[in-house]
Symmetry: D3
Subunit: 244 residues, 6 copies
């Protein structure tokens, strides 16, 4: 399940296209796009709302899938979903960072907008990975639309990758943000390892499915006991109440 918490279908499609390139033989990808929320999530407040929508989307479709990829940077609803559902749930930011840990000592993010920087830094801090983090690089210049940003800033971002490696000491560079899906594969002359987050997320979701972690019945991620709720969507409400 490739779950895009943003409402933009084109974004889902381009991420699904990239994702299929790394899928292992025998696996199938089911893409879903949020039907409520926001066109493109880009603030803590939007992520708070979108995270609840993510939970409902998984509740609706979980019987059709073996593992879930939350395909929005910042991983809205990730920890809540991991607590609530028995199947593996993986986020793009988390999967990209975790993959980077296996490629070098320190990783950087390069992304397309300064506005995203604090959010990325917070992802790193939430994951407890600051000691492996070499910083975020963002362009000085703006762009027209998230649909075309990958073309618009192609050369600018390539220079930022170079700077992240040479000036910031990164061994691995993550090209962050759904609109940059597949860009890592296009920089064939990069000076160090690059990570494409959607590829990393799909690959790690498969890895988790293969390792079969069982749902916890003790500890911090134990499934919460049944609880009635008010004003919640049907599928999510049933999940909270253990009646699904």
């Amino acid at each position: 399940m490739l779950l895009n918490p943003n409402m933009t279908v084109g974004m889902t499609e381009s991420m699904a296209h990239v994702a299929k390139g790394v899928l292992s033989p025998g696996s199938t990808l089911l893409p879903f796009t949020a039907e409520s929320g926001f066109p493109y999530i880009s603030s803590r407040a939007e992520a708070q709302v979108a995270g609840a929508i993510v939970l409902d989307m998984i509740a609706q479709h979980r019987n059709k899938v073996d593992a879930v990829v939350i395909a929005a940077f910042g991983d809205p609803g990730l920890l809540a979903a991991r607590e609530l559902f028995d199947l593996p749930v993986v986020g793009m930011a988390e999967a990209a960072m975790v993959s980077a840990l296996l490629m070098g000592q320190r990783f950087s993010f390069v992304t397309f907008s300064r506005h995203m920087q604090p959010w990325y830094e917070q992802s790193v801090a939430q994951a407890g990975l600051q000691s492996r983090f070499a910083g975020v690089r963002t362009p000085e210049v703006g762009f027209q639309s998230v649909a075309t940003v990958q073309e618009e800033l192609f050369d600018v971002l390539r220079v930022l990758v170079q700077k992240a490696v040479v000036e910031d000491g990164a061994d691995v560079v993550i090209l962050g943000g759904a609109p940059l899906a597949g860009l890592a594969q296009r920089y064939t002359d990069a000076p160090a390892a690059l990570v494409d987050p959607i590829s990393a997320a799909v690959t790690q979701a498969e890895a988790m499915f293969r390792l079969e972690p069982r749902g916890a019945h003790a500890g911090s991620f134990a499934r919460p006991p049944a609880k009635q709720s008010v004003g919640q969507p049907i599928a999510l409400s049933a999940r909270f109440n253990h009646t699904d």
Copy 2:
């Protein structure tokens, strides 16, 4: 504004009672109870949903108040609210920890259920205060109901406070969880400083109001640009869209 994201009115009333005891002259307390969500939030998944409800409640009532206290432990929706609204927003866990920093070197939590422990630890980590943290103590024994837990475990929790100070090296003990509101004031013979989170939150909300931090128009907490949303409550939708 005393905003209880739990749906239990009795809990709001007992917190409001305690809060009035520390209110400064001239201040008024407006308590609100969530009308959707859960009777009592106690998991990450419930907090994800409740955080979105918190945003809507503030969007509805923000013109009537000068500052907001989110009165549920774990502070659901806190950072999102701080980003979205111009008035000060304070959480119980955060205010309790921050107040504890001014009373001693290391603080502990004592609470009524082992189930809450990872959540508290995550609050400390999210606040970046691990180096001032001496741990969480929870009782071995259970209890009948959150309405009466403060009486049921009165002696048990007093012993845990003692242990937190003597064995864990805490200088300050926070009695965490809405059902323990006011308990700190009742342990008159405590060996070290105690913090009642609802008192701390109200006091810090007043302090923030007095210091008049202005809403950011740059940086990580800059108000997000106007954005249309789908399927959101009216007041919150208007706030996201800057049409309120």
Copy 3:
């Protein structure tokens, strides 16, 4: 009690003026200026000596006051005073940082002299708040006197505030150093939240008084047992010896 460990009366007066602006109704401010020590503390060695003077000043006047603000940046004698006396003691640097924690994710300091930078960094480290810290910004240019530095560098410091937010990623900026008291209130167009340390310290001292933390008789801040001393001022000696 507004306790200025510097001997400069004018500095006490200007801080008292600012402090009165945030005092809650019914509170009174008693300003005191050190009568020994240094005109203006600006090194570790001077703070070592001034900290002992702070202890004596509190010992002399503690029966007239409900809470103490140590009004010199770097908070000389703060932890020692918190250990030795039963009433709340708050430092300017500590109160400013703690207040900043409630306004955003990361805070910076802007101050008037490069010479102060390591001292501020040490304050952050001593408080264990490095993960919330975005750095110190100081001007390249000098100034004539601490009495007029606020006017002299008014525009220069405003630019540094801007840079701290935009380049360093600070959500909150603390305008540090007694000579900058009240400056935060004058930058009405700041891009993010500003903190005036003397205002923060007075506000937090009131908050602490309202929360009534009791003096510890166990743990790290337990009052030390009675001890005779040689060569100490009368009031302080009596406090050490429990004969006051």
Copy 4:
């Protein structure tokens, strides 16, 4: 390539058996056992020597394989190999920890001998993952041989897993050490997610191969320039000298 730096062939065989269980369709496993060094590596000094042997083994066989798993706990030679060779190299301890990050907040190790504890702790520290670490649990009792330790301590280790979750707050438990390969799959009633390191390493090696990180020509993991060496094995010497 499943590279066992220990000289014990039986250990290689049992790890290869477990590894095949998680291999994705189309992948083939080539196991190799060290022909010099030690029967079973269990100290820093032995790992220093074995790490050099690992480099030579990869130098000999790298043209036959797409990715390398270093199958000894403690990951001897891992970072050096990652620097020296163009194909992905993954260690058991590192892969297990990284996989655990995607399953819960905090992970623990359970292993069969107290003697291994400091080594595991050092692995966590070297990976910068202390903030996600809940500790190591080892049995009080001894065992006859590493060949049979999995049977001998089957019940004892199961209890330690339980304690790691309930008492230490682990969300995920890693069953560490080559002799415990496959044990995670046998505890079908575990209270939380378990990780089998050899399964994790094979799965992550496949993931890395699929993500195609390119060898660095800048940064910390840039391939070292050609250099002559004295007294080194032929294949490794050729690699250092870029003549292979």
Copy 5:
């Protein structure tokens, strides 16, 4: 210069006796005992006062010596002295920790009174060495006097050393507190490396003298500019005013 900031001459004598055992050929030890302050420093408040006394003692005698050892645990006045004087100044706690870093991965403290525990922990934190720290062990039982505590608790402390190594994972154990001077040398059968702080301090002071670090005229430890003071002892006042 062996500077004892405690007023107890017997303590100075026993430390001097131990110190002479590790002095290198050609070096001479000049012991001094504080003539004001406290018989035995054991709180933050006492250390604040004693630190100022330390500065004056160094100011008086610095022309007779090549290096200074501050011989009280907790190192009162250490950083201030390092800033103010041109000769090397070494503290007992700091020298013991730094020496321990060269003997193993993690160090513990064993001392004679629970009361000292938070102070030791604060020394570790102030030195930024928490990641190398395995904890403090103190006896459950009391003792008659600091003069005889080393005999009284000889066996009890030996057991604590054992526990620090076996249960806490310490590679090195520091026997902390002036009254335990020389005890490390008496435990000839210790399971791991032991550090005697006064021996470490004298040895490190000699090392520093040999390395000849020059007094800083820039940076955080730059000598402070001349400043007049009020109410300070003659020698110290002259030092502050650069008139000595």
Copy 6:
């Protein structure tokens, strides 16, 4: 024992020359140069191999010496040697950092090649000293040979020292890398304390010898039990097998 793991005899000679300048009366220096390995170690992979050579060199000569200095930056084989042998073993990087801790709050490295930077940063991280670390400064310009680099970059490095103090806030600067041995002593006008690593290592090795830490028989650095090995040099093999 001054053990140079690099094969360059001239480097050993110049380090021995500097080392003799700080040797205490009565001590003798025995220099040894590696006879296998590399002319100059400058990568993780080379250090992995050289570390094993270091162990064999100590095994061969340990009966002739009282303490060992591993005289290559990055300290190859240090922890393994400390585990395997009963006499004190000190590394250049570690000794320089530890000495710097006694001279100021934060230390920097200045070295001659950008290529070394990640290695130094890793040394700091491995030692757990990040909180005391102010960064590495390396020249923009290149040089002809390590034999003459000290002359070639004399002025360039002096400027970097200045920048490390003034811009990075270092209190102490370590001039890292064997080819810079003795340079610290030549910058007589440095703005802050400088550390020459070979001088620091020799001085600390003497200090350790004087403190007589005994070899551990418990804990993380306990001597490993006897073990047979295959393909190892005679002296090292005998040490592993306890037959020397």
